[in-house]
Amino acid sequence: MNNNKDLINLNDDLEPKIPMEFKEGVTDDFSVEELSPVSRRKFMALVGASTAFAAVSCSDYRDKKEVVPYNKKPEEVTLGRPNFYASTCTACALNCGILIKTREGRPIKVDGNPDHPISLGKTCSIGQANILNLYDPSRIKSPIKINKSDEFFLFKKDVIEEKWNVIDKEITDLLKKATSENKEIAIISEPITSPTAFRLFEDFKVKYPTVKFYFIDLFDENNKKNAWVKSFGDIPMSPLNYKDAKIIVTLEADVLGRECNFLENSGEIISNRNAEKHEEFNRIYAVEAGMSLTGMNSDYRIRLNPAQQLAFVLSLVNELGLQKKAFNLPGNVENGVKGYSLDKFAADNKVDLKTLKNLAFDLAKNKGKSILVAGKSLPEEVHIAVNMLNSLLDNKSIYKSSTFVNYYPKSSKSEFESLISKMNSKQIGVLIQFDANPAYLLSSEYGYEAASKNVDNIISLTESQNESSRLSSYVLPINHNFEAWGDYQTRTGSISLQQPVIAPINNTRQKEAVLLNWMQEKPEEYKEDIYHKYLMARWEKEVFTTVSPATDFNSFWYGSLHDGIALLKDNSTPNLSFNFNAFNPTSTLAANGYTVVISKNYFLRDGKYATNGWLQELPHPVTKITWDNYAAMSLSTSNELGVKMNDLVEVSANGKKVTLPVLVQPGIPEKLIDVELGYGRTHANEVANNVGVNLIDFIGKDYKSKFIRTDATVTPIPGHYQLASTQEHHMLTEKFVKDLHLERGIIRETTLDEYIEDPKKLKEHGEDKPHFSIIDRVKYPGVKWAMAIDLNKCTGCSMCAIACNVENNIPVVGKEQVIKGREMSWMRLDRYYSGTDEDPIVSQQPQLCQHCDNAPCENVCPVVATTHSPDGLNQMTYNRCVGTRYCANNCPFKVRRYNFFDFREQFAKGYYEKDSLKPLYNPEVTVRSRGVMEKCTFCVQNIMDARSEATKNGKDFDGTGVKTACQISCPTEAIVFGNMNDPNSAVSKQIGNTRNYTILEEINVKPNINYLAKLRNTVKKEEV
């Protein structure tokens, strides 16, 4: 839409004000200069020639090419049937159990392993999209030796592809030389969670005594850990248990999206928000700055500058301990909290006092059944105060009965500083970047890149090139997650196994095997199973003997491999008593000018997965922005700065300046900027390079408040930027559109108490009235498919969207096309704001093809490419589609997606069309080409599969056993799919629920996606 205000403003010079009639970009495609240089005559000649060639080649049109069978068929392969292998995801340190689906030996899909005791059959967006990294065209194909010059890049002239055995020999000589000269061999690695890798590292230290390991982790939990030790003594931390919590208070902790094990948290928290068991319904208070998934799903959200978090906790302690006398305070705590009170806190921070009083009331009432959790970005003293409040409230069941397993501690700031000074003084013999990217993750204050010039031998072990491999003299390609062996233990009680499901695609080796090989007498004689044997040997010696099952080792090993997990005895019950001497009421944070909150991105981790197009294009769960980071700020802050969305601001913090586009985000405190990490890669692949801005320098060396900068300045600068968003939102104050989604009944929600009082009240949008139709309703006598989505359980985490992308071969379109509204994802997460800009109420709604009984798209297709099936599916037949797009125009839900291009070829010059990606595609789903409409199919391939299974077993198909990809991946089981004609199916039970509704009921299209209204557990007025 044109912004008329700017156009009408004709005062001074006319020309620059109205440069073009149309909005920028609209007419680009027709610019004469950009037309093809091929002339008409040439074109005709080409057409003639190609017709002639076509005629010639058609002469053997009957040739159907070869069909090539196996020479020796592997026993477990049945052509056309998938195999599933249990393994472990190594995309992050949570190490969820995964099931990898393979077809004819190639992985095509990743789901959670239901037998895994921690991840319980769920895996996150990164874990699912990780399969794209396996086939990434930018993976390094064979080991590389780089002849050193001052600036060098991979794949350039001075690069020599070497054989592994030559490189192994050279490197072991270097290692031996460094040992004999007593120079340090520094190994920089990501923190490890594998007991066998831990053993390997220890062995490596014995072989090469000058080895020193450095562990780099951007999102460490040092503050939390230090606070834990001070609070409870030097015992291992325990994971939180939300199962019994009635009141959940999160302080700057996105427990549903980014903090701790968010998959496990989501499952536990949301399972206690069951409308049918309302006495167990929990209440979530989110106290946070940036809008997060937890904030969006909370019952009460208190927006607060993180510098005030300590004051918040202390005011609560004061209220509960001194005013309400809910517990007794020891002397030093009483003195510490005397100066605080809820009233003062509410006035200082413009927080609603009533909400705070409610919170205090709830905590006092539910003593022993509440849980307070502080985010890892908060400073130590807040964590201590939260630990204290938890123990004062007698919250005993807050921790699970297992503890985290610790391997090496993460390296501190001083360790890295000493490493860099050693590098500069040439004391480092060999530097090994062990699948870590320190050049990107360490802020420029450290001077890592400059120091690396003073190290002669840098070895990088990496899957594809990154900022650090650029600095190396040897680049050794390593196996992907799905090509490697391993075992992982994050907690006591179980140990998870990782097995390869495909032989290494390129000439790569497993990173652990590379180290192990360098410890051998003859490293040039490498054996493929070296680490596999090492792993098995450790299991036989250590795991097998501790478990001591009634079988022999082989049965135990293959049993564990099959399950992906071995259960261990767990004797660790934490016995925690808070040490009140640790209480420290002085805050290390003080808001002074602008505050910058540096958050973790939901999908890119620390930037390692910025190379993955699916993750880059998955809309941010809150802001719906793709392909960029930005400065999110409140409306009042943007007004104060005089900027609008897509304007530019210069943010300076920690002595560093960066330019960021502005995003106006409701629900952010004043004078606060929320930014995300993980962008601005410079030497990764074509997907990640130069996307967004690198904000690592904001973090700097200061580890106390690593992610919170309270001394920032923000200045608007001239210029404009275009963020690619899949859903925009209007001003919340605009009268005409305010709360439209509620008024039209697209989103229906109520409070728990009102629902208990009168469940029928939700139905006031008029669906009881019969709708008039000129045709009789079609009957569906057999199976009829329907889906029910419980909005009360949906958190908006977007894992369904990525699962759909992987399952249904959905292409990456790129930022330019997203701006034009051409993203291809079949599953869309709609986010609606209501309330005020300061304290918005957020609603979520997954939106996909509604498979309407009276589908409006079907009537308008001129070639009958979209029709209805007898089991209630709205079918899309690609080979009939001629691309008129009438169907998409007539769809009231806007869920049809059109292939404006062959997007694989269009995106980044055919980056995702390269040969290495061909095995990625699900062979049961057609890969759509240009000019074809597509949309959600209800995973018809799974339906057909279940149907043929029933036929095979000689049964009538009753619709059981079909799951859609989105349903499988949903961490809170919000999505239910099945046969609605079967009264016992889960979906017909959901449809029978009083909360059930369909959207846009008044147009009588009869959708088959049912939504169940959201309930908010806010306090009854009379209760306070």
């Binding site: 020796k72 599916l873 057909m944």
Partner: protein, 195 residues
């Protein structure tokens, strides 16, 4: 000389009409020949394997080699090691068997020429049809009598639907014992084959 109407009709209209009719006929004939649908396509295979001998004379069950036909979408072209079940011993001296052994020992797959094919966007499922009681010959004709296998039926959408709509007419042999017949009309909706 003034041109008459008849002149015009004879010199211009008639030839054009005849030409159009001829071209239409020729194109229609060319396009609708049975050959266009692949009927009669009998390519030469890399090894002269005879179905007549194996399936006909020796009455080896189809499923002995095409192991996946009742388990999966594909019937499965047998892997070379299935041939070697017998031919490690049987007829080792014959030149065609020596070819086979050479492929096997050289770890090379045999590039069989493909005879029957449905397009990529059609997801035909062998196991559903076979498990419902349909016989191989209903689509592939009596392979056991062919020395060199060729295509006998067309594999167009029309031929699929023909059978889906009138199974009784197209496969009368399956409906002899009407009490035991499990076969109903096949699905006709798009998603049955296309997705």
């Amino acid at each position: 000389m003034k041109k008459s109407k008849l002149d015009h009709a004879l010199k211009i209209r008639l030839p054009i009409t005849v030409l159009v009719i001829l071209i239409t006929y020729a194109v229609t004939f060319f396009v609708s020949r049975a050959e266009r649908d692949g009927i009669g396509y009998t390519p030469e295979q890399p090894i002269k394997f005879s179905h007549q001998l194996h399936a006909g004379k020796m009455t080896i069950d189809c499923k002995y080699c095409h192991t996946e036909v009742d388990k999966s979408r594909h019937a499965g072209i047998p892997a070379t090691d299935i041939c070697m079940n017998c031919h490690t011993v049987a007829r080792k001296t014959k030149p065609e068997i020596q070819k086979l052994v050479k492929f096997y020992e050289g770890n090379q797959p045999i590039p069989w020429k493909r005879i029957h094919k449905v397009p990529d966007y059609a997801y035909f499922n062998h196991s559903v049809h076979v498990n419902k009681g349909m016989q191989c010959r209903h689509c592939h004709e009596d392979v056991a009598s062919m020395d060199v296998v060729g295509q006998k039926h067309s594999f167009t959408m029309g031929s699929c639907l023909n059978c889906h709509r009138n199974p009784k007419e197209k496969m009368p042999d399956l409906f002899v014992d009407s009490a035991k017949v499990k076969i109903k009309n096949g699905p006709e909706n798009c998603n049955a084959c296309h997705r």
